[in-house]
């Protein structure tokens, strides 16, 4: 369970203070497939970053499974992210010199998982995302959709509680985008992992089972739907 309570986040842009989040409160249950929607500048990415423990808030509190992550120091946050969170980025952010296999397996290396287990789990997740036979290919020899599949595999290989995806389909054509969303849905159902993704794309919002709308740093809607 993720609890976001009265979260405030301000940024300084020169002399001006930009209020990115103005007291956002949310509760996200385990296994949800939730989309944070809103126009550019509404605070979607900021909220994702705060839940993902890669940014610090100026007010309020965030707890994950009862742990007040927003109060953690830098090292504790790093450890929390390493053990509990997966990330999918709009621009994939794969390491270009590593193969598909290595891009996924390095997450387990950081966790000091034994070599044999790394191999088993990596091969299995690459199979799950439909990249069997492409393990040795580097990102530059893969399409955008295939690269995002690697990113999904990378996020899921460590069996995280939560996967945070910032505009995961923004760089993909609509057909590939839908494939990626279906894959994420499938993984959400199969592993019961909480998926939180930001988007401003109507098609992407349609895949979400819960749609939280943000506007000017405030929650303007919270809609639950049937899958």
């Amino acid at each position: 369970m993720i609890q976001v309570q009265d979260v405030v986040r301000n940024y300084k842009a020169g002399e001006t203070v930009v209020k990115a989040l103005k007291g956002v409160s949310l509760e996200i249950a385990d296994g949800e497939f939730l989309s944070i929607a809103g126009p550019s500048g509404s605070g979607k990415t900021t909220l994702l970053n705060l839940i993902g423990c890669i940014d610090s808030l100026d007010g309020g509190e965030i707890t994950i499974d009862g742990v007040p992550v927003s109060r953690m120091d830098k090292h504790a946050k790093t450890e929390f992210r390493r053990n509990n969170l997966g990330f999918i980025f709009q621009t994939y952010n794969l390491i270009p010199v590593l193969s598909a296999y290595e891009n996924v397996s390095f997450v387990l290396s950081i966790l000091n998982v034994p070599e044999r287990e790394i191999k088993e789990r990596t091969m299995m997740i690459l199979q799950e995302v439909g990249l069997t036979g492409m393990e040795d290919r580097r990102p530059d020899r893969l399409s955008g959709g295939q690269q995002q599949r690697i990113a999904i595999a990378r996020a899921l290989v460590k069996n995280p509680k939560i996967v945070l995806a910032d505009e995961p389909t923004a760089n993909l054509d609509s057909k590939t985008g839908e494939e990626i969303l279906r894959l994420m849905q499938e993984m959400n159902r199969k592993y019961h992992t909480t998926f939180i993704f930001s988007t401003h794309d109507r098609m992407v919002m349609d895949y979400a089972r819960r749609l939280v709308s943000l506007h000017d740093g405030q929650v303007t809607g919270d809609e639950r739907r049937e899958a």
């Binding site: 990415t45 970053n49 993902g52 890669i54 940014d55 090292h75 790093t78 450890e79 929390f80 992210r81 390493r82 053990n83 969170l85 997966g86 990330f87 980025f89 621009t91 952010n93 390491i95 270009p96 010199v97 590593l98 290595e102 390095f106 997450v107 290396s109 950081i110 000091n112 990378r154």
Partner: protein, 418 residues
């Protein structure tokens, strides 16, 4: 994890091949230059020390106890007596020794031989022609004529001095000097030989005459201002110097025994300074290399800021990210150090075998080195190892600051980086 970091670092080095090569080449050239300069300095120093022992100081010198402090005045009154007896005693203990008298004189040049009359102050060394070459090494330096014979009025001169005054074998000069007791004496001497020695000091100023002739002229028979002792290169001069007073016994004369190191302390001090200057060169080389590597790492980190942000977001600890970049930087340093050491060593093979001829410089200037022309290199495993290790270690150290700065940046800022 370590294997992953090493593999990723190697792949990243190959990813920026051109940059890696350019930075490594800069380090390699710097290190190779240092190896070459250091090798020449070590080689010149070794040759200088050898030439000092062979042509100036011998291994150990025995003097009157009061002579050293007045040595610049070259006082004949402060001498060693019963020289032959002392040399005999040293010989009985396996020490080869020869007497010398050093005195200042005015050398008068005559118009018949030199075209015009003239004179110049000189330092004259009176040697025993029978034993001098068993302690010093002048035998192979003769380029014209022959050595002076005992009891003769013959003189051997250094080649550069001979060139400067246009002296030739067969010319006559007069030496006017103050004798033992203060009287003045004039000695007519014929130049019978010219020596060209590896030691430029000798070529620049040597005037060598027979000691028995000078003994008669200057009232120095069986007297000497010094007794020089030869030791094998492997022998310890300090040990010999401590043994000699026991051999010579407690006579009525107080004697001082000094090793070549003490006698050439001024030269050794200069060399010490020059070794320090080679450290400054090393520092400058590394400063240039450090700027190069630092620049390369700043570019690499800047280009990979998003990648770095992703790694941090996925929970890779900051110290591991720092280690990754330091390994990469160390890899560049390793490539540069290997290439530089190989390049420097190949150049050093030539330097050790053939050397570089700096004769034109040494003829005109006195740099203090006792090497006449060809500066040869020398191998120093310690120097090569230090240079190699410093190349790698310093490369790793200079990556520290840019990496530190990168991991202090906010993760969202890293992920937004264009």
């Amino acid at each position: 994890m370590v294997r992953f970091l090493l593999a990723l670092a190697c792949k990243n080095l190959l990813r920026y091949k051109r940059r890696t090569v350019i930075t490594s080449v800069a380090i390699a050239v710097g290190l190779a230059l240092f190896i070459i300069i250091d090798s020449i300095l070590i080689g010149v120093n070794e040759d200088s020390v050898r030439n000092i022992r062979w042509h100036e100081t011998s291994s150990v010198r025995i003097m009157h106890a009061d002579y050293w402090k007045d040595r610049l005045l070259m006082p004949l009154e402060v001498h060693i007596s019963d020289v032959q007896e002392k040399i005999g005693l040293l010989g009985e203990h396996g020490l080869t020794a020869t007497p010398r008298i050093t005195f200042s004189a005015q050398m008068i040049l005559h118009a018949e031989d030199f075209g015009e009359d003239g004179n110049l102050p000189v330092v004259v060394t009176a040697v025993d022609p029978r034993t001098d070459n068993s302690v010093f090494r002048f035998e192979e330096t003769l380029i014209d004529g022959r050595f002076a014979t005992s009891g003769s009025n013959e003189l051997v001169m250094g080649s550069w001095l001979a060139q400067d005054i246009r002296a030739k074998v067969g010319h006559w000069v007069s030496l006017v000097a103050r004798g033992n007791g203060g009287f003045f004496e004039a000695m007519d001497m014929q130049i019978v030989g010219i020596v060209n020695c590896p030691n430029p000091n000798v070529n620049r100023s040597l005037i060598m005459v027979p000691i028995d002739t000078v003994g008669i002229y200057l009232d120095m028979e069986d007297l000497a201002t010094e007794i020089d002792v030869a030791l094998p290169a492997s022998a310890d001069p300090d040990e010999a110097a401590s043994r000699i007073p026991g051999i010579l016994g407690n006579g009525e004369q107080a004697l001082a025994v000094m090793t070549w190191r003490e006698l050439s302390s001024e030269y050794l001090a200069v060399i010490g300074m020059e070794r320090k200057s080679s450290s400054i060169i090393l520092f400058l080389v590394f400063l240039i290399a450090a700027v190069g590597i630092s620049n390369t790492m700043i570019m690499a980190i800047n280009e990979r800021t998003r990648e770095l942000g992703m790694m941090r977001a996925l929970g890779m600890p900051d110290p591991l990210i720092q280690v990754l970049f330091i390994i990469e930087s160390g890899g560049i340093g390793l490539l540069g150090s290997i290439s530089g050491t190989v390049l420097g060593s190949v150049a050093n093979i030539f330097l050790v075998r053939n050397g570089i001829d700096f004769g034109f410089l040494m003829r005109m200037n006195d740099f203090g080195y006792r090497v006449q022309g060809i500066f040869r290199g020398a191998w120093s495993v310690q120097s090569l190892a230090t240079t190699f290790a410093a190349g790698v270690v310093l490369s790793m150290l200079v990556a520290w600051i840019p990496t530190r700065r990168a991991i202090n940046k906010d993760i969202p800022a890293c992920l937004r980086h264009q």
